[in-house]
């Protein structure tokens, strides 16, 4: 019919326009619904905060962050980057050890995070002295540190390994409590030696080697004669510290936990107020203290 001929064309045009509209609307809709939208780059791929890097970029990052961390020890983000870019094999090793341990396997599947928001501080404060939770809280207060200052993992290209790295960072403070080491230079070096022996992370090894360079003679002596060998021995023989579900063991006593992990008590008691030597060397806050996410006022 004549009206068919007259109306068919505009109808077809309208249909085309409407198709274009639909596709545009669909695209916009998808943009609004997904946070990253269509990207040619693969950011935020495997976990929130993940940045995809090529091997060349990882190598450059490792070198650059190493130099930056050595130049300015307060750049704890650079130490974090160094750890992530160099620690691939060690992380795989750690992850396998966790998998082989039943409690470690639970940690890997449940993925607990240690943050102030997840800790019940009042309950922990009410625990008896000598219990793990109470001692951990005391450690946080005495050394003025907080578990929330850990940088997020960015450059590890495996979601599970990224969690292992994050757990390692968050467990660091708990390790201080377990080993009875404060966050001054000597305590940090001792913990670094323990971690290097335990985890095999190159960043720990580097810290373990460079840390003692900033200690004075008396502390070096105590490090090499008693603290150091103790840390290395226990690091090697203890159970994997990442495999413990610390969040469920606040009530357990520290001694009990140490025995379970096969860690001998420290040969020397260092106190958090033991800072006399560090005052003589103002630059000694050095590489180690940032690990606790705090720059100490010395």
């Amino acid at each position: 019919m004549w009206w068919q001929q007259h109306l068919a064309k505009p109808l077809r045009r309208l249909h085309q326009r409407q198709c274009a509209l639909t596709s545009k609307a669909v695209r916009v809709h998808q943009l609004h619904s997904t946070s990253t939208g269509f990207t040619d780059r693969c950011y935020d791929d495997l976990y929130p905060g993940h940045i995809h890097t090529t091997p060349i970029q990882k190598a450059l990052l490792a070198v650059g962050s190493g130099v930056a961390a050595l130049q300015n020890p307060y750049r704890h983000d650079m130490v974090a980057v160094l750890g992530e870019t160099t620690g691939h094999l060690a992380l795989i090793n750690l992850r396998d050890r966790m998998r082989n341990d039943p409690e470690g396997y639970t940690v890997l599947t449940e993925r607990p995070r240690i943050r102030l928001s997840t800790l019940d501080l009042s309950k922990m404060a009410s625990l008896p002295d000598g219990s793990f939770g109470r001692e951990y809280l005391r450690f946080l207060e005495d050394n003025h540190v907080t578990p929330d200052s850990r940088a997020d993992v960015k450059f590890v290209d495996n979601e599970e390994l990224a969690y292992v790295m994050q757990r390692y960072r968050e467990v660091h403070d708990l390790l201080h409590t377990l080993l009875g080491m404060p966050t001054n230079m000597l305590g940090e070096v001792a913990v670094k030696w323990f971690e290097a022996a335990q985890t095999g992370l190159p960043m720990c090894a580097l810290g373990a080697v460079l840390g003692p360079l900033r200690l004075n003679a008396r502390r070096l002596q105590s490090l090499f004669t008693s603290l150091g060998p103790w840390a290395l021995q226990n690091g090697r023989r203890s159970r994997c510290i990442l495999s413990i579900f610390y969040e469920r063991r606040w009530e357990q006593s520290v001694e009990d936990l140490r025995q379970e992990l096969n860690i001998a008590p420290p040969p020397i008691t260092l106190s958090a107020t033991n800072k006399e030597s560090t005052i003589n060397n103002p630059g000694i806050t050095g590489q180690m203290t940032f690990d606790c996410g705090q720059t100490r006022n010395i």
């Binding site: 019919m1 009206w3 068919q4 109306l7 109808l11 309208l14 249909h15 326009r17 409407q18 509209l21 639909t22 545009k24 609307a25 669909v26 695209r27 916009v28 809709h29 943009l31 609004h32 990253t36 939208g37 269509f38 990207t39 040619d40 780059r41 950011y43 940045i51 090529t54 060349i56 970029q57 450059l60 990052l61 650059g64 962050s65 130099v67 930056a68 750049r75 983000d77 650079m78 980057v81 960015k154």
Partner: protein, 329 residues
């Protein structure tokens, strides 16, 4: 006949229903149903409100791009100059000097430095004009070595009227952090005369028409959401005879150099950003936004479309940077 008519009407209704659904999906504000015909055009304009643009290689709604660009420069402001030196190995200073050389400003000229941020162009401008003024004074002094009595009496009468020609530079930037850093730099360098700092959007400049002799925008125009609007604003605030000058990253012509440049951009620059400034993503945005910017010829066309005359460009460092220039006549 009635049957085919009914078929047509039904088809029309179906199409109009789909239009309504599409409008709803596109979240057009407050449009109750629309029947096909004139309102289909309205539906199209609703889609335009949700138009998207590029943010690096990402696609974002236009309204969001400005916010994200603001965040990027807020984050990098403190380390901006250090990063420029590190990324370009100091060559950015040469580019900016070449811009000033092409500009060749004379004393008494008013400059508007848009996206001027940390003030590099404005400082160079004031320095150039100052040295030009000194050269002029020296020339005048040399020519006045043996004055006649007539010249001396003329000088005495001229002294009151002719002060040194005041050149003024206005640094305009949308980002307050960048301006803050620029101000600190100016204070530390002791430059204050003839310099003002204004917060403003390149797409909507807070100045009257026909105000400036020279308008520059160095490494800023690729961050603007609507480049054509920025160009029109440039035309508006320039005096007739005024010059528009734009320094911007562009397409490298040589294929070998292009490969090297790409490799360097994508491998090295984000790493430098992470190590020096602690910000990978901002510098990833930077290298991506360079790739998204139109090439030399296209940008020249855009400048001509805005209404500038005698538009020409000059490639620096093999096309890594292009200097575009146009006049308002």
């Amino acid at each position: 006949m009635a049957a085919s008519m009914r078929l047509l009407v039904r088809r029309a209704i179906r199409l109009s229903n789909r239009n309504i659904q599409v409008t709803a999906a596109a979240r057009a504000p407050g449009r109750s149903g629309c029947c096909w015909g004139p309102s289909s055009c309205r539906c199209l304009s609703d889609a335009a409100e949700d138009r998207s643009t590029h943010f690096g290689f990402e696609t974002v709604p236009e309204t969001e791009k400005a916010k994200r660009v603001y965040k990027v420069f807020e984050n990098v402001a403190q380390k901006y100059d250090v990063m420029n030196d590190a990324m370009s190995l100091g060559i950015h200073r040469v580019w900016k000097d070449m811009l000033l050389h092409a500009m060749h400003p004379q004393p008494g000229v008013r400059l508007l430095d848009v996206a001027g941020g940390t003030g590099d162009i404005s400082f160079r401008f004031l320095e150039y004009v100052r040295s030009q003024q000194e050269r002029q004074k020296r020339r005048a002094a040399r020519s006045m070595q043996t004055p006649s009595w007539q010249d001396i009496s003329n000088n005495y009468s001229k002294e009151d009227e002719d002060g040194p020609l005041e050149s003024r530079a206005v640094v305009c930037d949308i980002n307050k952090e960048m301006l803050k850093v620029g101000k600190q730099k100016a204070d530390s360098m002791g430059i204050s005369a003839g310099l003002s700092w204004v917060v403003g959007d390149a797409e909507e400049l807070p100045f009257d028409d026909d105000q400036f002799d020279i308008y520059t925008i160095a490494f800023g125009i690729r961050n603007v959401t609507h480049i054509d609007q920025a160009l029109q604003e440039a035309l508006r605030v320039l005096k007739p005879g005024g010059r528009f000058m734009c320094l911007e990253f562009s397409k490298v012509t040589n294929p070998v150099l292009a490969r090297l440049y790409d490799a360097y951009s994508f491998q090295m620059i984000p790493v430098l950003g992470e190590v020096i400034a602690g910000d990978w993503k901002s510098y990833q945005y930077l290298v991506e936004s360079i790739r998204k910017f139109p090439n030399q010829e296209e940008f020249k066309g855009m400048i001509e479309d805005a209404g500038f005359y005698c538009v020409q460009y000059q490639n620096l460092t093999g096309g890594v940077v292009a200097l575009h220039s146009g006049f308002k006549l």
